[in-house]
């Protein structure tokens, strides 16, 4: 049997139009719409102090480290990211347009995130000389590329082609200090786990709201995120200064505030997506923050006081400022833009200055996914 051609594979608009899944599109408007559905992935490129990373010595956490690496090497999720009979038919054409747009935006940004993680980890692997570190980054790059491939496949079903042609564009390499990579990626992996598992459990209880089969894969998916976070927790544990010095505690607080508030603002930009899942974004945010805070106590000596009366108010102020900012950018209103920027900064400072909750970090770092 001849394979069905798919517009997502097409290199040109003409090929896309001729593909089996797009037989009906003949007018120029349709052609333009198709051409636009070629989404160029634009990951960022980073460099760091590779010598400093080479000096990491995991011998103080050797036992936990070896166990974690052995578990990642055994690759328990190999074979999980395959479509099987659980992958129900998706009625993309019947999907409400606003929901479809937000959901595709969700998939594209997830795919870009996995892809950027893969690029970053691969670069670390290539430039490093420390065997422990190189092994870890190689394993994490494998997982991220696998996740990106899985999301890409879901996008293809919707007729969205991901374009990997970015390498022939000019790419600037920006710089991160290693510790900022640890804080940012640790939090990003752990909050990613909390986000995926919260949706998974919610849909487990309310299966009728599951409008796409990809959510069924979220549990194993987020277990990968969880393991990656564990590795960064152990890395931070090898150098107590990273989490105990006064300045670094402030950095940790800054990263926590920035990551939490960005998630809040970003999720509120997808109302139809959350409505379809039957999830109130405010409830969801609080749930995810609670889980992430509980987990991050494994290595961070502080957590944010998310039940402080100023917390929710501050998030809402930041969200409103962000909406106005987006509107001002679109309409070109300079003063409105300046005002919104100042309000956003003030809201962020308000959140950052809420006193943090201090606690003792446990001697043993390792955790298992429990939600």
């Amino acid at each position: 049997m001849k394979d069905m051609t798919h517009s997502a594979d097409a290199a040109t608009v003409e090929e896309a139009l001729a593909a089996d899944n797009h037989q009906g599109v003949v007018d120029s408007e349709g052609a333009t719409a198709l051409a636009m559905q070629n989404t160029l992935l634009t990951p960022r490129f980073y460099t760091t102090d590779f010598d400093e990373m080479d000096r990491i010595d995991v011998s103080s956490v050797r036992e936990d480290w070896d166990k974690l690496i052995a578990q990642m090497k055994s690759d328990p999720n190999k074979g999980h990211f395959k479509k099987n009979e659980d992958w129900d038919h998706v009625d993309w054409d019947g999907m409400e347009p606003k929901l479809k747009r937000e959901f595709i935006d969700f998939l594209v940004s997830s795919c870009t995130a996995e892809f950027s993680g893969c690029v970053l980890y691969k670069e670390m692997k290539r430039r490093g000389n420390n065997e422990d570190i190189v092994t870890l980054f190689q394993l994490m790059a494998r997982d991220e590329a696998r996740h990106a491939g899985f999301i890409n496949d879901a996008l293809r079903e919707a007729g969205i082609a991901v374009n990997l042609g970015f390498l022939t564009q000019k790419k600037k390499y920006t710089y991160f200090r290693p510790k900022f990579i640890y804080y940012a990626t640790y939090l990003s992996e752990k909050i990613g786990y909390a986000r995926y598992i919260t949706i998974y459990r919610h849909l487990e209880a309310n299966p009728e709201l599951r409008f796409h089969p990809i959510f069924k894969w979220f549990r194993e998916w987020c277990n990968d995120e969880f393991s990656h976070g564990e590795a960064f927790a152990l890395l931070m544990k090898t150098d107590p200064k990273l989490t105990q010095s006064f300045a670094n505690k402030l950095w940790i607080k800054f990263f926590l505030t920035a990551v939490y508030s960005t998630m809040y603002v970003r999720d509120h930009q997808r109302p139809a997506f959350h409505a379809a899942l039957g999830v109130d974004p405010d409830w969801y945010a609080h749930e995810v923050f609670t889980k992430t805070s509980e987990i991050s106590r494994q290595v961070f000596p502080i957590t944010l006081d998310i039940d402080h009366p100023r917390w929710q108010k501050g998030l809402e102020a930041l969200q409103r400022a962000n909406v106005d900012l987006a509107d001002a950018k679109q309409t070109g209103k300079v003063f409105k833009r300046m005002g919104a920027t100042v309000r956003a900064a003030a809201a962020f400072i308000g959140l950052f200055t809420i006193p943090a909750v201090k606690h003792q970090v446990p001697v043993s770092t390792r955790l298992e996914p429990a939600y």
């Binding site: 594979d9 719409a33 051409a35 636009m36 559905q37 070629n38 989404t39 160029l40 634009t42 960022r44 980073y46 460099t47 990211f81 747009r101 595709i104 935006d105 594209v108 940004s109 997830s110 995130a113 892809f115 950027s116 893969c118 690029v119 970053l120 691969k122 290539r126 430039r127 494998r142 696998r146 990106a148 491939g149 899985f150 890409n152 496949d153 293809r156 990997l164 042609g165 970015f166 390498l167 022939t168 564009q169 000019k170 790419k171 600037k172 390499y173 920006t174 710089y175 991160f176 200090r177 900022f180 940012a184 990626t185 990003s188 909050i191 990263f255 990551v259 960005t262 603002v265 970003r266």
Partner: protein, 112 residues
């Protein structure tokens, strides 16, 4: 490398683009041991390396490396950290789909 002047160099490289279900990735490996420093720019020469779905494409190409000036390198070291939010999945972004994508590509100087 001067304090204010940029240098250019070219380096042979291997480009690997995988467009498979198992792995979606794209990497550049320099074959002459060239090392990229903060603020440097890299551009692989030639037409975009496109892998059809289900395939891995490996090609040897030439990359043009624009070395940042000393000053720019210092600046990138000092300020690069603040772009960390891009490491997080939900960083602030303009609307991606569907109308913004070709525009973004165009901005980078590559035809969509």
């Amino acid at each position: 490398m001067g304090w204010l002047t940029k240098d250019f160099e070219t380096a042979p490289c291997e480009v690997e683009v995988s467009h498979c279900f198992d792995s979606l990735h794209a990497h550049v490996k320099f074959l002459n041991g060239a090392v990229i420093n903060p603020g440097d720019e890299v551009q692989v020469q030639g037409p975009p390396v496109m892998a059809p779905y289900g395939e891995i494409v490996r090609e040897e190409r030439i990359a043009r490396i624009t070395r940042a000036s000393k000053l720019e390198q210092l600046w990138t070291r000092m300020t690069g950290d603040f772009e960390f939010m891009e490491l997080c999945e939900f960083s602030f972004s303009e609307e991606i789909m569907p109308h913004a994508a070709p525009r973004a590509a165009h901005k980078e100087g590559v035809p969509a």
